[in-house]
Amino acid sequence: MAKRAIRVIDSTMRDGSHAMAHQFTSAQIASIAEALDDAGVTTMEISHGDGLGGSSFNYGFSAEPEENWLRAAAKVVKKAKLAILLLPGIGTQEHLTAAYDLGVRVARIATHCTEADISQQHIELAREMGMEVVGFLMMAHMIKPELLLEQAKLMESYGAQCVYVVDSAGAMRPDEFKRKVSTLRGGLEVPVGAHCHNNLGLSIGNSLAAVEEGADYVDGCTVGLGAGAGNTPTEVLATVLELEGYDTGIDLYKIMDAAEDVVKPIMPRPQVVDRASLTLGYAGVYSSFLLHTYRAAAKFNVEPRDILVELGKRKVVGGQEDYIIDLAAEMAQAQEAAKKNS
């Protein structure tokens, strides 16, 4: 029997941008893109961590304009398709058109899991330009499978050719992933994808659960380079999928080498589950809040985990990085007041 094909989309150069505090250089992008292309990765996503146009005070400024990254990758890639991420509200149709002009042919349009209707213009424009379009429903742990399906159907109706269950907080467990993927599979005509974070140490388990339930697209980042505790490591994902009898088209030695020789040497910190990133998964908080929380915690002398747990309670969503400093300052003021009273 022919092995079922799974499309692995590598996001080292997009979700990894969070872990790099958006400081990728064009030279680094070129070397990563070349290695991934050579390893047989068919689609690679390149953008600021918060998508096109994300370079800002709120999310961190990129070391170089995204156009430089895309140009650098386009120059070296022979077979793979280039993809971008775009979050309506942050990036605009103008960014999308500019990316198309640089050779990008896959547009991933992301919204919070309840707000799919803000993606219509962007999905339609990308389709009109002839791009392949993926809908990305972030923070999917926050809503029930049926509601997630309603939102996925909206994206499908605008023209998305695949819709992702995105566990931005790394908070989902395999059973939940299965329920959500199977609900989407049952209700959509288009394929379903899975994007996992490793905050609870479950990125591979969740990816496999999703594939078993029929997800045809899975995201990875080499060495797991990504927000929070990182993403599903592409090299591990490709290995596990091959062992399980799926066809990814990825050369295992080459992807392992790309991880070990190209990506690992440029990583500013090891990609591990530490107490703060574990707390992201525990509290259900957007993974890219991690480094911003460390900075705010240091500035205001409060415990990072307290900030994260409180952000979770207040149901803060992706993109609300500005809330972190606000909350840290509020907690510091409360600490001061408590000290004075004691």
């Binding site: 005070f57 509200g89 942050i90 103008e94 213009q121 149901k315 606000d326 509020e330």
Partner: protein, 303 residues
């Protein structure tokens, strides 16, 4: 009672209806006429109850009785206002535009209203713009601001289909106005929708990169500006003391609506109707030959 200037509202949806209620106690504007397109709309029913003239025939309905109003608040959609704007101009009306059409120059009460009082058409930018541009301006009055960025987070429930389908309009219009009206050299705007229940209040963060970090002067200007904005949007407040670090000032704001027709959490809509009223009253003072300039943002406009 002093003379008032007669005005009409085009659009009997949420925004038009909230504005209708806000104008009831105005000492400068006499709301006479509300125009919609749905004879069964709640807004038109309410207008009738208040004894106002109504029409459900859209712009044609207004034209039939245009002598009822000299100032027209446009609370329809960008597309509709684009079509109406030239006709309003022909009729010699002053249009105060709450849609993203931006036919006329941008206006933020207190910041630049003195510059636009002879314009036939002014535009209220966006909700995020009304909330944050006063703060960008507060900082840029003290020191050069090479770059300013704002993040507006609003409750999902308070974002209507118009906003949702045209989210790029929000970011591009607001960014432009941060520069033109706020006084920053470059601007960026971000909008986030949060679906939490109960719905969150509108929250805004303003980041200004500054050339000279004169904390005392910047703080004084911020607090003075917040006080001025509160004269027409009482629920406008700083969430925490502004934070200074590196070369930037971070100002976090919350806008609680007045809770007249719209729920209190939709401060984003409230600040639009409150600003529209403040702008309309300043135009009225101008027409009536009353002192302007100091007007908006002082006790007078409390209405």
């Amino acid at each position: 009672m002093a003379d008032k200037v007669k005005c009409a509202i085009l659009g009997s949806g949420n925004i038009g209806t909230d504005l209708m209620l806000k104008l009831q106690d105005s000492e400068l504007l006499d709301l006479t006429f509300v125009v919609g397109i749905d004879p069964n709309s709640e807004g038109l029913a309410l207008a009738k109850q208040l004894g106002l003239e109504t029409s459900h025939e859209g712009f044609d309905g207004y034209v039939k009785q245009h002598e009822l109003a000299d100032i027209v608040f446009e609370a329809t959609s960008a597309k509709v206002h684009m079509a109406n704007a030239p006709r309003l101009k022909e009729l010699g009306k002053t249009a105060i535009d709450l849609t993203p059409a931006a036919v006329g120059p941008y206006v933020v009460p207190y910041v630049n209203i003195g510059d636009v009082l002879d314009e036939p058409n002014v535009n209220l930018i966006t909700c995020g713009g009304q909330a944050t541009i006063p703060m960008v301006n507060a900082v840029s009055k003290v020191t050069r601001v090479p770059y300013a960025e704002i993040v507006a987070t609003i409750a999902s429930k308070s974002a209507g289909p118009g906003t949702r389908q045209n989210i790029d309009e929000f970011t591009s219009t607001t960014s432009e106005a941060i520069v033109r009206i706020g006084g920053a050299e470059q601007g960026k705007a971000i909008m986030i929708l949060n679906p939490a229940e109960p719905p969150i209040m509108m929250r805004d963060t303003v980041y200004c990169q500054v050339e000279e970090m004169d904390q005392e002067a910047i703080l004084a200007s911020i607090h003075e500006t917040a006080e001025r904005v509160r004269t027409y949007v009482p629920g406008y407040r700083l969430r925490i003391d502004p934070v200074f670090y590196d070369d930037r000032v971070v100002i976090t704001l919350e806008v609680e609506g007045a809770g007249m027709f719209l729920p209190k959490y939709s401060g984003n809509l409230d600040i639009m109707t409150a600003a529209a009223k403040a702008v309309g009253e300043e135009f009225a003072r101008h027409r009536l030959g009353l002192p302007t300039g100091a007007g908006v943002g002082t006790e007078v406009s409390r209405g």
